[in-house]
Amino acid sequence: MTKSEITVPATSGNRLLRQWRRVKKWWPVYLMMLPGAAYLIINNYIPMTGIVVAFKKYNVQDGIWGSRWVGLQNFEYLFTSKDAWIMTRNTLLYNLAFLVINNVLGILTAILITEVNRKRFRHFFQSMVLVPFVLSIVIISYIVFAFLSADGGILNHTILPALGLDEVDWYNSPRYWPFILVIVNAWKGVGYGSMIYIAGITGIDKGLYEAAELDGAGKIRQILNVTLPSLVPSIITLCMLSIGRIFYSDFGLFYQVPMNSGTLYSVTNVIDTQVYRMLITVGNIGMSSASGFYQSIVGFILVFMSNMLVRKISADNALF
């Protein structure tokens, strides 16, 4: 077909007809793709266009499209409030802390798991570290509650008294929460990260270790000089991808785990919780949509740029 296209100069009518035949042959496939396409249009593309609501004064009667344009007013309100700075700072700093701690612990765990000499125990540890990954954030918030709550928490009732320390009103003491959230996030996420690094380590050529051993390298040397350098591409890729997502956070971790406690907002408010609270609790659609717009646009730029970088380092791992 392509050959005849080259040799016989077709009229545009002919070409259209041929094109149509080609497409027609595939109609069952298009039909099968239709429900998925419709879903993506509704769930993803229509809300993308709805992002303009950030430049409007929304009211229910007129809907997104009928409401009055107000230019940058919503953004003025947002960026003159102190929320904008707090939520941006919290989102970025927590994500950086998570990135460093989860990756360091993930790599360490992965190295130690692959070192275990008995296969049965290796599998056992591997499935143990992944357990928190399957728990919902609501369940995790219950576990945290069992530790921290004022009326029955094991810390205030058993552990702190045993250490001779005073009780702490955890859900009203902002200064502890940066640590609590980092610990909870590590508890939840280290297993997931280590799975990725275990896959990386099992892919390393065993000959490299044998060669290192012949050169008299001990275990520590082997880890430092063979394992870690071989993991560098995965580490960089994972870090870049996390940086691409640095404007987004796990809503449940920052909303549900601190029990939406108002006294903690200064250390728990991130962009995702701000958007939700402004929309549902406060009902300030202008403020909420401006925060959402800010997240979508900066988030898009970051994903885009981090992917360009990943592409430079290892094209296989890039999203596009």
């Binding site: 069952p28 998925g36 275990v116 540890f125 919902s136 530790f147 928490g153 058993t158 898009f300």
Partner: protein, 291 residues
């Protein structure tokens, strides 16, 4: 690597055993709290070694806890419908993308892929789902938004179909006069089973654990799934604590019941986990390669 480095082995075992304890002990605490006698809880708080045990919480749930069981049924239903729907939509779309000669394939790939790069955020979605589709306080609110199809599922399925199903199979099926529907049903589904199961496990977990859709779109507590029921339970208890003078606490499920419901919510996951964990592991490394 046969025991030539006993010290490394020792360190690895000690570290990993400690880590396993750190991971399991909070779950054990959750379970023990759920079978602790209520008066013991009030006096001593949650504890690993309570003075007195009791199954009262569980008997309450299964005799008087109609609302708990209802939310449980809702979650089961939503998980089944959502997972089935997701697998159907995703696999059909991925099948199309896996056909190298499909006209418009590049555009359709980008169409899926772009949803991973950019999204409109909560506000426009919320306004659309509640304003145009009126899903608020219906079971659709727990099924439709966000989870019915994901670009990641589609892309992983497409890659799997392309690499594991030989093109020659399609050709011979076409020569035999099989329609594309038959090819999808008789070739793609059976041969794509491993990826379908893996993606199904992840999607099922996402539906079971999701509480955001319920938080955004459900205000009627009778329509709650189990996660939102739990969420309500713990935030309302807090509310009662803050207003301790209003002594309506008799009506609230007690401390042990809270933990019992939480434990019931994770039991199905803990039961299937040993069988499904290899899918979690392979799924994570698959997903890591692509994002």
């Amino acid at each position: 690597m046969k025991n030539r480095y006993p010290v490394t082995q020792l360190i690895a075992y000690i570290f990993l055993i400690l880590m396993t304890v750190c991971i399991l002990s909070p779950l054990v605490l959750l379970f023990i709290s759920s079978i602790t006698d209520e008066s013991t809880l009030i006096v001593n708080g949650y504890s690993f070694m309570p003075d007195k045990l009791s199954l009262e919480a569980y008997s309450y749930i299964f005799t008087k806890g109609e609302s708990i069981l209802r939310s449980y049924r809702t979650t089961i239903l939503v998980t089944i419908i959502g997972t089935a729907g997701n697998l159907l939509l995703s696999s059909m779309f991925a099948f199309g993308l896996s056909q190298p000669n499909l006209p418009g394939r590049k555009f359709l790939s980008f169409f899926v892929f772009f949803t991973m790069l950019f999204n409109g955020g909560l506000v426009p979605s919320y306004l659309m789902w509640t304003g145009t589709f009126h899903i608020k306080n219906t079971i659709w609110a727990l099924i439709l938004p966000n989870f019915l199809m994901s670009a990641m599922n589609v892309i992983l399925m497409r890659t799997y179909f392309m690499t594991s199903i030989p093109g020659a199979l399609y050709e011979s099926a076409e020569i035999d006069g099989a329609s594309q529907f038959t090819i999808f049903r008789k070739i793609v589904i059976p041969l794509g089973k491993p990826i379908l199961v893996t993606m199904g496990v992840f999607t099922g977990l996402a539906y079971w654990n999701d509480w955001t859709n319920g938080l955004y779109y459900i205000t009627d507590t009778r329509k709650f799934g189990i996660q939102n029921y739990l969420n309500k339970l713990i935030t309302d208890a807090q509310f009662l604590m803050q207003n301790a003078t209003m002594s309506s606490s008799q009506l609230m499920p007690s401390m042990s019941i809270k933990m019992a419901i939480a434990f019931i919510a994770i039991i199905p996951i803990l039961i299937v986990y040993p069988f499904l964990q290899k899918y979690f592991q392979s799924g994570i490394s698959l997903g890591a390669v692509k994002g």
